[in-house]
């Protein structure tokens, strides 16, 4: 029996501070055949502007499919979706505007570099989005410096002559140059060395905290998720199963193991302490745990 397709326009009451609003979003590849397995089933969520959300779940759980809906790389099949006020239930949403506002960094973005020079590659976005040519260099300079590269040094280099880490930064700059309001990252640290990872995450955090960019990060590294995200959304077989702050989510040790996810080290440590009767305040990283333990020790000494 063919499924009824229903695209629902978003209600007009979406609050202005909402970045992403999805209601009963359902998607299946090859929608024509009725046997087509659903990639997403009834995803409903609201993400506010300025949030740092991590999207986790193992391969094939629908994270990437969901994320690609956000800038209409995949078109809405069922349900409703509103991104930054763009109602994606419309037949022809303003794709250019939407894609300018929703920056998307794919996995291994350095494999998408193509231009003769770094400057040209970074300016690809603004050129397509119709930004006046006179502003290109200024924007590129800002983006390249934001990712921690020396503009004068790299601007005329071929992107293929850079090192792996530098290439990734240039690719990042190519997305950041359009000054997106939502930044979607698909495993931004995959394949980087520890230092490179740290720097990329610092950059993302900075964008989030200082410029109020809404960040949606797909990641398999739970330590990374725990330290950075305000909120973790767990996908499993195309369904949204958890939507909690990381400190609450990783208390559910059994459920986490069940889903083939690992408990981050800091959370695991806190959980062990708690079982031993020592309850710490919410900690995001090792330093905070240390500080909390010191405070506890001083408290007991006094």
């Amino acid at each position: 029996m063919p499924r009824a397709k229903k695209i629902v326009p978003t209600p007009s009451v979406v609050e202005p501070n909402v970045a992403i609003y999805a209601d009963k979003l359902t998607f299946s590849y090859n929608a024509k055949s009725t046997s087509g397995k659903r990639a997403l089933t009834d995803i409903s969520l609201t993400i506010n502007r300025g949030e740092f959300v991590a999207l986790v779940g193992h391969t094939g759980s629908g994270k990437s499919t969901f994320v690609q809906h956000l800038n209409a790389l995949m078109r809405l099949q069922q349900g409703s979706l509103n991104v930054l006020g763009h109602d994606l239930a419309q037949k022809k949403p303003n794709l250019m505007q939407l894609r300018k506002q929703v920056g998307m960094v794919f996995q291994y973005p350095e494999y998408q570099l193509f231009a003769d020079t770094v400057l040209e590659d970074v300016c690809f976005g603004p050129k397509n989005f119709g930004v006046p040519a006179s502003e290109h260099e200024q924007l590129a300079k800002k983006a390249i410096e934001l990712v921690g590269l020396d503009f004068e040094e790299v601007k005329n280099k071929s992107p293929f002559d850079l090192s792996g880490g530098e290439k990734r930064r240039v690719a990042f700059a190519g997305v950041l140059v359009s000054e997106p309001q939502i930044l979607v990252l698909d495993e931004p640290t995959a394949g980087l060395d520890p230092q490179g990872k740290k720097e990329i995450l610092q950059l993302v955090r900075k964008l989030n905290k200082e410029q109020g960019v809404t960040v949606i990060m797909v990641s398999h590294d739970m330590n990374e998720v725990y330290e950075n995200a305000d909120r973790v959304i767990v996908f499993r077989d195309g369904c949204l199963v958890y939507d909690l702050p990381p400190q609450q989510l990783f208390r559910l040790e059994n459920e986490i193991e069940d889903m083939n996810l690992e408990v981050p080290q800091v959370a695991a440590f806190c959980n062990v302490l708690e079982q031993a009767g020592i309850t710490l305040p919410t900690c995001h990283n090792v330093e905070e745990v240390f500080a909390a333990l010191c405070a506890l020790k001083e408290g007991s000494n006094a």
Binding site: Q68, N71, L73, L95, M96, R99, K100, V102, G103, M104, F106, Q107, P109, Y111, Q112, L113, F114, A115, F124, G125, K127, N128, F129, F160, G174, V175, S178
Partner: protein
């Protein structure tokens, strides 16, 4: 999306034709392709069509997927038919308009050419639909083996072919990903004039080429580090064996085309086919 593009279009099922030896199928297919050019009458074409239908029936491949393969060359078919129609100046003049003249022989020649090409494509797609690309490469390697005497690199050639085939799915996936990434940066591929559209493909082609070279290099390194060498006497995991099916299939096909050759020889004067020898 690009994912829907299938190359080689192997149709997975079990059938008489599927389980035939790839080498035999390849030879029979070549025989079919040559033989089809010796068919001259519409009765002959009906005979070939009947043979083709029986073969398709025994292959369990839906007729639809075979017909689909014709779609790819529809332009070529139309062009051939039109050229034959307008440039054959034999028989009775049917229509004449401006510089175009259509003779009845022209129509007949065009129809025969069309049938020939359609059967050609159907026959060869029956081969690719029932034989996996890997088997096909093994068959080519096996058939080219005698040429090793003259130092012909049969194994290397087969390796290149099978590697090429195995790269295709990965490259398609990569293309999909690159298209998405460039679209996310505002690239559009369906607006502007022809030059603008052609230019829009540069941001896809360059990363694709670079990626292709990277993958090839990785593969070469992996093979080198395992001391791969093609020239030594390598054995194959799946040894190809002939069975009764191959005998039956070969006998039927050979019988059909033997008939066609005999009919051709009887119909035409020997003197008129001496051109074959020159």
């Amino acid at each position: 999306m690009l994912r829907d593009v299938t190359f080689g279009q192997y149709y997975l099922t079990k059938s008489f034709v599927h389980s035939m030896d790839a080498r035999i199928k390849l030879i029979l297919c070549l025989l079919f392709m040559v033989g089809i050019f010796f068919v001259q009458s519409f009765v002959g074409f009906a005979f070939v069509a009947l043979f083709l239908l029986v073969a398709i029936g025994f292959s369990h491949v839906p007729l639809g997927s075979i017909v689909k393969s014709i779609k790819g060359i529809i332009f070529l078919l139309c062009l051939t038919a039109l050229l034959n129609m307008f440039f054959t100046k034999d028989g009775n003049l049917l229509v004449s308009w401006w510089i175009f003249e259509i003779y009845d022989q022209g129509l007949i020649v065009a129809a025969k050419m069309l049938l020939r090409l359609v059967f050609l494509v159907m026959g060869s797609s029956l081969l690719t639909l029932t034989t996996t690309p890997v088997d096909l490469t093994h068959a080519i390697e096996s058939l080219l083996k005698p040429l090793k005497v003259i130092k012909f690199p049969a194994h290397e050639l087969a390796l290149i072919m099978s590697l090429t085939l195995s790269f295709i799915p990965g490259l398609i996936e990569e293309t999909d990903r690159i298209i998405s990434a460039q679209k996310a940066r505002g690239a559009s591929f369906d607006s502007g004039n022809l030059i603008k559209r052609a230019k829009a493909f540069v941001p896809i082609l360059i990363p694709l080429l670079v990626g292709g070279f990277r993958k090839a290099e990785e593969l070469a390194n992996a093979m080198n580090s395992r001391c791969y060498e093609g020239s030594t006497n390598r054995t194959q995991m799946r040894v190809m064996k002939l069975s009764w099916r191959d005998l039956v299939g070969a006998l039927i096909t050979v019988a059909v085309f033997a008939t066609i050759f005999v009919v051709y020889a009887m119909r035409s004067q020997w003197s008129t086919i001496t051109w074959l020898y020159f």
